[in-house]
């Protein structure tokens, strides 16, 4: 696609469509990757509730995998995860390790 010139831009840099954040993948910002351990998951969906983006997928009312295209690795899900018997269902692992 040819890059836009200055005459092609929307006034005031207004984004003229809704939901366009989906076009801009932000997963590469991540330094720590959340890893889901299903065996410790009690399906409380706190992670889905607390995720500031929409990086936690839910399928048929149940916790599914992370959406790593949009997870920036903030770690809020891991912090909020109550886990099972003192064992977290989400752990943060350094990227590249």
């Amino acid at each position: 696609m040819k890059p836009k010139g200055w005459k092609d831009l929307a006034p005031g840099a207004v984004v003229l469509e809704g939901g366009s954040a989906v076009n801009f993948k932000t997963g590469s910002w991540r330094a720590f990757r959340p890893v889901w351990k299903e065996e410790n998951c009690i399906q409380c969906l706190f992670c889905w509730l607390y995720c500031p983006d929409m990086a936690i997928k839910v399928k048929d009312g149940k916790r599914a995998e992370f959406d790593y295209d949009f997870c920036k690795g903030c770690g809020i899900c891991a912090l909020e995860c109550p886990g099972k018997k003192g064992k977290k269902a989400i752990e943060m692992v350094e990227e590249g390790k």
Partner: protein, 392 residues
């Protein structure tokens, strides 16, 4: 029928805002503007307008609230001075970058330190590069007229930019002058119904303001912003034409006074222009061809038109009521830029006057005209930039 009144500049602007009846007003007090928003708040409290007032905790918040309200789709106003304008600084850029036509009278006042509440132009000159349209006013009548015209200019569909209407603190904001109010109906008809451009509250068409734009497009967006400014001059003149039809009062990009055949001239903003005109008359009586150019539209600056108006003058003094420490006065820099491109141009000098509300007296203008007269006859310029009315 126009109504003749004796009012202060603040009262005149507050009444202009009442007649326009905006949707939202951000209110935060600061001398010497306080009295303008206080009067406007009374109009709100008395049900004279339908405006929603937002009482905020700072000018930064005031401009932020105005940006939100304007993006939502309202006709929005506020007013400020000095430190208040300085505190708004980052939000001023956002208002213009988002193309939101917020209208803001700025009652010009000096900047701290040292603390000073009186009239000078340092505040608005500091906002020169914020992307706002700036219109400057000599007296209460011009402040009122410019405030009304600002709505038509900023809200024009080709423009959609915020506008500052500048008037001198205390000298104009608090002095009572004779002036004429337009009828409420006339103003209402003149500014017209507010037309939305890209309102956030349109649920049918969700949009976003203020995205992240990095190296790929920021340069292009700023180029586009400059392009909008190049269209402002024509809109200002069209609006002035309509305003003249209604009021009988003529406005342009700048005002000239006895400039056509002048050998020597001042370029001077706002209230001090009035004092200078009187002095020009006395010099003309002595047979000395003195004149004046008073800029009205400062941003965007009408370089070509100003150059055309000044090109035949022999010596010009640009008077600045603001300073750029280690540089020339801000108005001087504009005038030199305007004149550089013509071959035969006047000799230019720069005087800094009236900082922090120091009186600008006819005797000051006389000294400057006498110096210009010598320069016009061939005397050498001793110092390009000097301070006048300053104690040694």
């Amino acid at each position: 029928m126009a109504k003749v009144v004796a009012v202060t500049g603040n009262e005149a602007c507050a009444n202009a805002l009442r007649q326009v009846n905006p949707d939202v007003c951000g209110i935060y007090p600061i001398t010497p503007q306080t009295d303008m928003m206080q009067r406007f708040a009374s109009f709100i409290a008395d049900g004279k307008v339908d405006t929603e007032s937002i009482l905020v905790e700072s000018e930064h918040s005031s401009m932020s609230a105005c940006i939100g309200a304007a993006a939502a789709g309202g006709r929005v106003v506020t007013a400020t001075s000095s430190q208040g304008l300085a505190l708004m600084w980052e939000m001023l850029h956002i208002a213009s970058g988002d193309r939101l036509p917020i209208i803001m009278p700025v009652v010009n006042r000096a900047l701290s330190a040292p603390l000073n509440i009186h009239g000078d132009h340092s505040d608005a000159m500091g906002a020169r590069d914020t992307g706002w349209i700036q219109i400057w006013s000599e007296n209460a009548q011009e402040s009122y007229d410019n405030t009304i015209q600002a709505f038509r200019i900023g809200e024009h569909m080709d423009i959609r930019l915020p506008v500052m209407v500048c008037l001198d603190g205390f000298i104009i904001s608090h002095s009572i002058e004779r002036m004429e109010y337009l009828e409420d109906d006339e103003v209402k008809k003149f500014v017209g119904e507010f037309k939305n451009f890209l309102p956030l509250l349109n649920l049918e068409k969700p949009i976003s303001y203020g995205p992240l734009i990095l190296t790929d497009l920021y340069h292009e967006y700023k180029r586009a912003q400059h392009e909008v400014m190049t269209k402002v001059k024509d809109v200002v003149l069209d609006v002035a034409k309509d305003f003249e039809k209604m009021s009988g009062r003529k406005y342009g990009l700048f005002e000239t006074y006895r400039l056509d055949d002048a050998d020597i001239a001042l370029v001077i903003l706002n209230s001090a222009a009035g004092t200078s005109k009187d002095v020009i008359d006395t010099f003309r009586d002595k047979g000395i061809k003195a004149g004046l150019l008073k800029p009205r539209l400062f941003r965007p600056f009408p370089y070509e038109e100003v150059a055309e108006a000044l090109k035949s003058v022999k010596a010009v003094c640009v008077m600045d009521r603001a300073d750029s420490f280690g540089g020339y006065g801000p108005l001087f820099m504009e005038i030199t830029s305007a004149l550089y491109h013509i071959k035969e141009r006047p000799v230019l000098i720069n005087k800094i006057y009236g900082l922090g509300g120091r009186d600008y007296l006819p005797s000051h203008a006389e000294l400057v005209f006498n110096e210009l007269n010598e320069i016009a006859k061939g005397a050498k310029v001793k110092n390009i930039k000097e301070y006048i009315g300053v104690r040694e």
